[in-house]
């Protein structure tokens, strides 16, 4: 059993959306998807049919994305201070480390998360983060990569990696609270 060229091409829009979430860069995402689709077309006889075509293509794309991320990471300055500085979170806590403001339950029913809109808001929020922090967060949460693999691919320590993920989550929490949950709660 092999995947047909039509089946492979039909997944392009989904793959492009997946790639854009990793790279925050339309041109780089299109290049990675194009490379993945070419590799898939050349190797389509190897598609065993044990997983869906989408799952198979996603696994090919992940390798292309990791290559691109590694290359981008080398181009970003090696100074990690912007990514690991947590001082901008100090305002969330008082001198004893307690929350300054009550943390409220978002309380949006799961099915209320309108996927397409949520994705757009997530993308906007991710763009406000330092580039490398957004990269690490996407590798962890969108690509489901393990911490050890992220550290190895980006040559950063596990400690720096966990600080960056914490920073990303705190930043996204604030951004989503303003742009998504308050608006959805009000509607």
């Amino acid at each position: 059993m092999s995947a047909s060229p039509e089946q492979i091409e039909a997944e392009r829009p989904w793959l492009l959306r997946y790639a854009r979430a990793q790279l925050q860069d339309q041109a780089a995402a299109e290049d990675a998807v194009q490379d993945a689709l070419l590799a898939a077309l050349e190797g389509r006889e190897r598609f065993a049919g044990q997983a869906s075509v989408r799952t198979w293509l996603t696994s090919i794309l992940r390798f292309k994305l990791v290559d691109t991320i590694r290359r981008q990471h080398r181009e970003v300055a090696t100074d990690l201070s912007e990514d690991t500085d947590l001082s901008d979170l100090d305002g969330l806590f008082d001198g004893q480390g307690a929350w300054q403001q009550a943390v409220r339950a978002w309380g949006v029913p799961e099915e209320g998360l309108l996927a397409k809109q949520f994705w757009q808001v997530y993308q906007q929020c991710a763009q406000a983060m330092p580039k490398r922090t957004a990269m690490v967060f996407a590798m962890r949460e969108v690509m489901d990569m393990e911490i050890a693999d992220i550290c190895q691919n980006l040559s950063i320590t596990a400690t720096n990696c966990s600080v960056m993920l914490y920073r990303a989550r705190m930043s996204l929490r604030e951004c989503l609270e303003t742009r998504w949950f308050q608006q959805k709660g009000a509607s």
């Binding site: 969330l92 806590f93 307690a98 943390v103 949006v108 949520f118 969108v142 966990s162 929490r173």
Partner: protein, 57 residues
């Protein structure tokens, strides 16, 4: 006693690695007493599930 600031960091770390026994015990005790941090943990879970659902749509 663990502060909310420390608890929020451990909640995040716990999403990426198994917490150590003493970390787990201290965090569980803090969460028993702190509604803000329970809400924070729910928010982090919603953040993860929201992203994955949106990704897979």
């Amino acid at each position: 006693r663990m502060s909310c600031k420390q608890a929020s960091r451990l909640i995040s770390d716990g999403m990426d690695r198994p917490l150590g026994r003493s970390e787990q015990v201290r965090l569980s005790f803090h969460l028993l007493l702190c509604r803000n941090c329970r809400h924070f943990r729910q928010q982090m879970q919603q953040l993860r599930s929201g992203i994955r659902r949106a990704r897979d749509e």
